[in-house]
Subunit: 370 residues, 2 copies
């Protein structure tokens, strides 16, 4: 297999097969040839896991027992996300790359074989499916020691193009209901590979938080005729005091009812359902605000902030006119040496307690000198 | 103030005022006089916080900014949960105690002053209340170095009596909707005081997980005429392979769709809505199974397991015939040196991925030699 596809912003995508049958996609801007072979021995891919219904709350739990043995914080010289140079054969056969996306070697969710449908949720009797979906890894750069905030604006534009492309392609799969690109950063939140990278989870079911957002937006639409998210952004614009950064096309704010010590929502001012609907102007203006907020985050305490940065999109097939694209960054860091933990109230009861006013964390973020 | 009250199982409760107006309740079995004065200087109590609505998912977030400065892992000789002996004046004025419950010095939720009502949830426009409720601390023993699993069966019986008493008394407050006694154990999950203790959170709103459990149970009742939780327990009894411990009155199992590497639900075989409804037989049989499961947990890896152990009760005023009492213990420890973290999928999307089959963790727990 060797396919080439032209995307916007001068990005070309080249696909290659990996030794075990997975696909790696190179997103390039300089017309590079991508012919390197994956010279590792072939190996079997793990089987598909189970989806079990937690009937207490009607939520699907994916069981992926094969992930227990995955690689854990390897030293730089054994990093599987670096390009292949010399002896070490990594996940990326080429000796350099810009942005790559490849199928996860230890996926929580896998494409189903043959016909597949999610069982209806009815309680403790109908409760088993296979863990259908797709998990991909996205590498932001070949530079092992960099972070998202160290990327060039041009690289973030390529990254955005890759996220858009993956969303468009995965949306076509009949078994996919929701697509979530996200980045986990920091050992504090369990990151096992420090090379700058993110993941793309494509679910065969609506993730519980998305389902709940959809229910809230549906009810609000019914009661007021308005789109909930648009009203939330209007209120943040009006209140102003929690705004962290903005440009012509995007706004970044600490939400009124933030649940983490540092939480930032970044959203286009002209609302869209998902990444594929972003206009050229939106796409061009994203790198600037993305770099500003991630640099502000690291600036607050002068240390690398652990965070989760996740794209919330409308689901693929439902709620397209009710849910809006936004990029949610949350950090459990509440002070140098102190983290927020989800303990009894948050974890067992789902009831969040915030030790810090959102207005205060917004002010701290704004005060960072860039 | 000095009140005395007789409870069951020979437990006597004595109440005393603390220097700043908070109440401490001694639960004793040996007729001890509890006359010691809190000799610390008086100090103002923090004000009540805010409840803000997160309109994206219609959940209340409690804002308790005054908690940011609370005490963090003090050494044993400065432990505020030890009895007062010599120079150090702790939270407990007496020089010894069995079980005590006192009002939290840095409460996330506080009793409201005057008339109070939770605003109706309607979206981003009606979204503010005061963080009404009550937070209490419960000390299991005067022995600083012990753990729950080291308590005597008789002490756990006293502890159960205290939980029951607090549930009964807090249920009478008109502003309380839900009562959750829980224990957080282990620095891995952010415990700031290592002295064996738990907390009691009394909420003025239904915590999100409780609300979702109530919705699932309501729907199930409507569709089948049955109580969901009873069917779940029936299935665990039938499947058998996830049962960890049992006696005549209680059963402990790893739930079919567990979401943590080690998760155990302990529930009475004759279902009740909350702690106050436990019969004398249930109460007498609880210490045995409670000790067995916590000892099995510590036995799996031969190390102190970090865990959250939370009592799920039916809410005070709704769903009394739909939700059932159970004690949920969850641990993020998946191996010595490895924790499960809630990252992108779990935290941002609410979608749990389990790296371990519940049948496997149940077998590991059963194999522990006590």
């Amino acid at each position: 297999m060797s396919e080439s596809k032209k995307l916007t912003a001068g990005v070309i995508r080249n696909d290659r097969l990996m030794a075990d049958g997975r696909v790696i996609r190179y997103y390039d801007t300089a017309g590079q040839a991508r012919k390197a072979l994956d010279a590792r021995p072939q190996e079997d891919q793990p089987g598909i896991g189970e989806l079990r219904l937690d009937p207490l709350v009607n939520e699907w739990i994916a069981m992926a027992a094969h992930r227990q043995g995955r690689i854990f914080l390897p030293p730089k010289e054994l990093c599987p996300l670096c390009p292949t140079t010399g002896e070490l054969l990594t996940e990326i056969p080429e000796s350099d790359f810009e942005v790559v996306v490849f199928d996860n070697r230890s996926p929580s969710l896998r494409p189903p074989v043959g016909d597949w449908a999610l069982p209806d949720i009815v309680g403790p009797d109908t409760d088993l499916g296979s863990a259908a979906g797709k998990c991909e890894v996205i590498c932001f750069t070949a530079e092992h020691g960099n972070a998202f905030k160290d990327l060039t604006a041009q690289r973030i534009r390529v990254l955005l193009e890759a996220w858009i492309d993956r969303t468009a392609e995965l949306s076509k799969e009949s078994f996919i209901q929701h697509i979530a690109p996200f980045e986990n950063r920091g050992e504090e939140i369990g990151v096992t590979l420090s090379h700058p990278h993110g993941q793309i989870y494509a679910y065969s079911y609506l993730p519980p938080r998305v389902e709940k957002m959809l229910a809230a937006a549906t009810q609000y639409k019914k009661e007021t005729g308005k789109v909930l998210f648009d009203q939330i952004v209007a209120r943040e614009l009006l209140d102003e005091e929690r705004i962290v950064a903005r440009n012509d096309r995007w706004i970044a704010y600490v939400p009124y009812a933030a649940r983490y010590p540092f939480e930032i929502h970044v959203t286009p001012l002209y609302p869209v359902a998902d990444l594929t609907e972003l206009t050229d102007l939106d796409r061009a203006a994203f790198p600037e605000i993305a770099l500003e907020v991630t640099r502000r985050l690291d600036g607050v305490f002068g240390i690398e902030m652990a965070y989760i940065a996740a794209w919330h999109q409308a689901p693929v097939r439902v709620g397209r006119d009710l849910l809006r694209l936004h990029w949610q960054i949350t950090s459990v860091r509440r002070a140098p040496g102190k983290l927020k933990y989800l303990a009894g109230s948050e974890s067992a009861m789902g009831a969040f307690i915030m030790d810090m006013r959102p207005e205060q964390s917004a002010a701290q973020l704004r005060e960072v000198v860039l």
